[in-house]
Structures are given as structure tokens and as C-alpha cells.
Amino acid sequence: MDEEVKRITIFKVTLLDGSMVMTLREDNKIEVGIIPKGGKA
């Protein structure tokens, strides 16, 4: 994911070692990414 783009988290699945997040970008595009524990969306 491009860290410069502002995002709203739509859905988050919290796992033991991180999370999967679905985010909404300012341009209305939805993206899915994986964030390790302690990482930033």
C-alpha cells in the first residue's frame, strides 16, 4: 500500500501476528493489505 495516500479502514481482521485490512482511499478506491503486528495501516 502507498503510505502517502489517506485511507479509512473499512474492515479489519485481527489475527495473532498482524491484521488484514480493507481500506477506502480518498479517490474512493478500495484496497486490501496485510499489516504485521505493530505495523501501520
Binding site: I8, F11, K12, V13, T14, M20, M22, N28, I30
Partner: protein, 557 residues
């Protein structure tokens, strides 16, 4: 060991489905590597469950429950626990987070049965939902509903990896697929829905034959589902030799590739709204390849002079109002997905997939022989392993197509083999070599198609005389709905009484969904709730009114 009867009574009222499962002998999940028995404490009393795995024995630890519930995500509305054990951790979670929905997956019926004997489970049975002894597919379906529900915003998954490591990984993979597919679906719909409707409304007036006449007419005839993937190159000679012996269906761009190599497919199928990539393929095509289409296809695709069969995708809420007996095929992220359902409903068997690479084999998007190539700098690529065990580049939309195939095949069980030379493995579809299939018998496929297309020597076109009256009725309803929305920006259920609502709903749902998310985010970040909700309703009204105006204008064109 005195709790069983009491727990069972409580379960009969709190979790009747689970109670019923204990009355049935059926067991779906056996974990042969896991032995389960009662465990004794230091005083020799039986008070715990013993799990025997790979020569090791584990017992549930009551004291660890408090620590286990410390890392709960405050944003997760639902917590899914994999592994019931003695239920201490579940009880603690219910106690600490009474507002969260708690689901406990226990794949092995024996575990819960042991726990029911050993302790008072009053608080646990009444405070959570248990999914017991379900197969992985059922479990995936239930999780899909949770993950993709429009009001769902977060879940936390806490599995007992020691006991159910593989089961947990399978579920995590599924959740990732669900999210990716959901994202692809919303993005696609947001960008294309107005084009789909414009095309459906205009295309409905054009001449075509109802594809229902084809259903079941190719029973037992082998079929090739041909995609345009780069690895198709090596199979073109074999495919050429199968003309007349198998139904060859070209998914979108594949038609151009096949024709350029001297192969005339039996059908081409098209659902793409793009006037260049879809219309450009069909409008000037001279070859005799019957076109199967949904109304959302690019308008210039229907300039094709050859036979045209119309079907309806299950997401199309308009065309069926004009021709209720059109055969309905399952929509997917790619035309190749739709082609699978089409071939299955024709009765073809087996269905052999070729050129469905779902990856950038040899660093390309398409096989040679097409005018279209993709700008590779624009793709969001990722690495996976292909059916040859090699690393390959793919992207979310390809994964979404693959996931669609897997879900469809697990549910419908068509006789499919993946003969794609190099591509992503599709779970549920056996890989096979196209040359291993001995397809010898010739079929007069053209005669079958002609018998479906013509009646008394003339094309048996769909009756289009009802279109104007249906469009006028829908327009009238849109006028009424417009007044209702203007009068009451929060109006909801009352709109559903109108047929036209189904169209407006499909047209607007993804835009309204995104506005809901933005509204929630504003509230979460401290904006006044009333003003955030008012701004949402204003935006929703604007979206609905715009959509109503657009659809109205399209219907009256």
C-alpha cells in the same frame, strides 16, 4: 462429571442447533491425529480434557484465560475463537466484553462433549454462539457472511494453533480471499454500473435470439473454455484439431487469438461494457461465431452481423423485466467465469480450461494474436506459485477470478479439468494435460446451433414490443420515488415496493456504502454525530436523485 444433563438442558434452549447435533450420530470432522480424553488433577479428580497430539499431551489451563483475553482489538465487533477446550477463555471473554459478539468454532464434537461433562457452562452457552462440527466449506460460508456484511467493520480471529493449525490457516486464507473479492466487486461496480445500465437499456431493443434454446442441447459433448492467457500459445495446434469434436468457447479476447490461428470457435461470449476492448472485437468480425451476451455488453458489440444469443447475468435487474424467460447465468469478475456456467448449462462434459493463466505468464497478459496488450506498469502485481511449481506474477483481479471458480466448482460440481499449460492452481479443479483427452467423435455443432436459432427458416428473435410499455411504467415509478426521496431524505423500505427500486438500488448501493463508511469515520474522529448523519443523508439523497434522473433519462431515450 455431573454437569452433562444440566448443560444439555440449557443448550437445548440457548443453542438448539448444537443440541440437535448431539442427538445425531453424524460426525463431519475427525481429527485422526488428535486423541481426546479426560484428565485428572493432582487430587485424582477428573476435571479437564486431555488432548494427545504427536506424542504430547495438553490440558486446558484455567489460569491462562485472563492473559489470553488481553489483546482484544477494541474495533472488532465479533471475536471468532477456534477451539472450545474447557471454555475458560470463552467465559473470560464474555465477562470482559459483554458487548462483543463471540463465536466459538469447535471443529471436533468430542471436545465440547467432554467439556459438557466436566463443568457448569451456564455463562458460556448463553453468552456465545457455537459452530460445532461443521465442514470447512460451511464454516467458510458463515465467515463470508460475517466479513462481507455491509454493516460489518471488524473481526478478531483467535485460534488455538496447537490443536487446529491447518484448519486456522485455511480459514485465514479464505478471509483474505473474501476481502479481496469484496474490494474488486465494489471497485468494479462503482466504476461501471452506469455504463452497464445504459448498455442494458439500449441493447434490449436490438435483435437477438433467446439463449434458453441452447440449454441442455450439448449434453455429453466435451467443451474447451478458452481464455486469452499467454500459455494458450502452446495449445493452439491441439485446439485446432478439436474443431467439430468439442464445443470451443472463446472468452472475450480469445476469439481474436483463435481466429488469427485458423480456429473458428463454436461460440464467443461477451459481457464487457468497453466499446474498444469488447466492441472492437465483435463489430467488424466477419467469421461465423455465434455471440452469447448479456445486455451490459458494449453497444457496438451487437453490431456484429452473425448470430446473437441473449442471456442474462444474475446481477442484471433490468433485462429480465422485458424477457422473463432468458436463461440466467452466474456473474463473475471475468467473462471466463460466466463461460464456465454457460458450458455447464449447455450440458457439456468434460469442460477443459485452456489459456486461463490468471497470471502474467512469460511477463505478458495475452497470448500472441491479439491487438490488445496491457500497460504492465499499471498493475498491482504479486508473486505466487503456478501449476508448474514456478514463481509467477499475478494480481488481485486474477485472484478474484480464481476464487470465483473455486467457489462455483465446490458448489455446483461441474465436470471440469484445468488444462491451462501454465497458470495459477485453481483449488477444486484437477490439473490435466489437454493431449490426454481422447476426443474423437465428430458433432454437427452448427446444425444444433441453427436448430436453436431459427424458426421456420427465420431467426427466432425475442419479442421486443413490450419494451416501451415496461420502460414507461418504470419511468412513472421513478417519478414517484423521486418525490418520495425529496420529501423524506431518510426514506428506505417504502421504496422497495416499486419494481424500479431494484435498478436504483443496484445503481446506487456501492456509492451509498462508501458514504456510510465516511460518515462512520467522521463520527469516530470526533465529529458531531447528528451533523455527520445529516451530511450522510444529504449525500445519499443526492446519489439517489442523480441515479433516478440518469435511469429515467436512459429509459426515455
Amino acid at each position: 462429571m455431573v454437569f452433562l444433563e444440566r448443560n444439555m438442558k440449557l443448550m437445548a434452549s440457548a443453542q438448539p442447533d448444537i443440541h440437535r447435533k448431539f442427538q445425531l450420530p453424524e460426525v463431519k470432522n475427525q481429527f485422526p491425529g488428535m486423541g481426546i480424553g479426560f484428565a485428572q488433577n493432582e487430587k485424582g479428580e477428573i476435571d479437564n480434557i486431555a488432548f494427545h497430539i504427536d506424542g504430547n499431551t495438553f490440558v486446558d489451563n484455567k489460569d491462562a484465560a485472563t492473559e489470553w483475553v488481553t489483546d482484544i482489538d477494541k474495533d472488532a465487533h465479533t471475536i471468532i475463537i477456534l477451539g472450545f477446550g474447557m471454555g475458560y477463555h470463552v467465559e473470560k471473554l464474555i465477562e470482559m466484553y459483554p458487548d462483543k459478539k463471540i463465536i466459538v468454532i469447535e471443529p471436533d464434537k468430542r471436545v465440547l462433549y467432554h467439556a459438557l461433562h466436566l463443568r457448569d457452562l451456564d455463562n458460556v452457552l448463553s453468552g456465545c454462539t457455537i459452530w460445532l462440527d461443521e465442514d470447512i466449506l460451511t464454516m467458510k460460508g458463515k465467515i463470508y457472511e460475517l466479513v462481507t456484511h455491509p454493516l460489518a467493520r471488524g473481526i478478531q480471529f483467535k485460534p488455538y494453533i496447537v490443536l487446529y493449525g491447518k484448519f486456522a490457516n485455511d480459514l485465514i486464507m479464505e478471509m483474505q480471499k473474501f476481502l479481496s473479492d469484496w474490494a474488486v466487486m465494489v471497485n468494479t461496480k462503482r466504476c461501471l454500473v452506469d455504463k452497464w445500465y445504459e448498455n442494458r437499456i439500449v441493447n434490449a431493443k436490438k435483435e437477438s435470439v433467446n439463449a434458453k434454446s441452447l440449454i441442455g442441447k450439448f449434453m455429453g459433448i466435451p467443451a474447451l473454455l478458452v481464455g486469452a492467457g499467454p500459455s494458450l500459445q502452446s495449445q493452439l495446434e491441439t485446439i485446432k484439431s478439436l474443431q467439430g469434436k468439442a464445443v470451443i468457447i472463446a472468452a472475450s479476447t480469445a476469439v481474436e487469438i483463435l481466429l488469427s490461428h485458423g480456429i473458428t470457435p463454436t461460440f464467443m461470449i461477451a459481457i464487457d461494457q468497453d466499446p474498444v476492448s469488447s466492441g472492437g472485437l465483435h463489430e467488424n468480425l466477419e467469421a461465423d461465431v455465434p455471440l452469447v451476451f448479456d445486455g451490459q455488453v458494449a453497444q457496438n458489440s451487437l453490431n456484429y452481423k452473425g448470430k446473437k444469443f441473449q442471456m442474462q447475468l444474475n446481477v442484471n435487474r433490468y433485462t429480465g423485466m422485458l424477457a422473463p424467460d432468458l436463461p440466467v447465468f452466474e456473474s463473475g469478475p471475468s467473462v471466463a467465469n460466466v463461460a464456465m456456467d454457460f458450458l455447464y448449462k449447455l450440458g457439456c462434459s468434460p469442460i477443459l480450461m485452456c489459456g486461463v493463466d490468471l497470471s502474467y505468464t512469460y511477463g505478458k497478459l495475452y497470448c500472441d494474436g491479439t491487438q490488445f496488450q496491457q500497460d504492465m506498469s499499471q498493475i498491482q502485481s504479486m508473486k505466487l506459485i503456478n501449476n508448474k511449481g514456478e514463481e509467477c506474477m499475478t494480481e488481485p483481479s486474477f485472484l478474484s477470478m480464481r476464487n470465483w471458480f473455486t467457489e462455483y466448482i465446490n458448489r455446483v460440481h461441474p465436470p471440469v479439468f484445468n488444462c491451462t499449460e501454465r497458470g495459477l492452481i485453481i483449488d477444486g479443479v484437477p490439473n490435466a494435460n489437454l493431449n490426454d483427452f481422447k476426443v474423437e467423435r465428430e458433432h454437427d455443432l452448427k446444425a444444433i446451433i441453427d436448430s436453436c436459432y431459427f424458426k421456420d427458416g427465420q431467426p427466432d428473435y425475442i419479442d421486443t414490443t413490450v419494451i416501451n410499455s415496461v420502460n414507461n411504467l418504470l419511468s412513472l415509478e421513478l417519478d414517484i420515488m423521486k418525490s418520495m426521496v425529496r420529501a423524506n431524505p431518510t426514506i428506505g423500505a417504502q421504496l422497495q415496493q416499486y419494481k424500479a427500486w431494484t435498478i436504483v438500488d443496484e445503481f446506487t448501493s456501492s456509492f451509498i456504502y462508501l458514504e456510510e463508511i465516511k460518515c462512520e469515520d467522521k463520527i469516530k474522529n470526533g465529529e458531531n454525530m447528528a451533523s455527520a448523519i445529516k451530511a450522510f443523508h444529504d449525500k445519499r439523497t443526492e446519489i439517489l436523485l442523480n441515479a433516478i434522473d440518469k435511469i429515467h433519462e436512459m429509459l426515455q431515450r
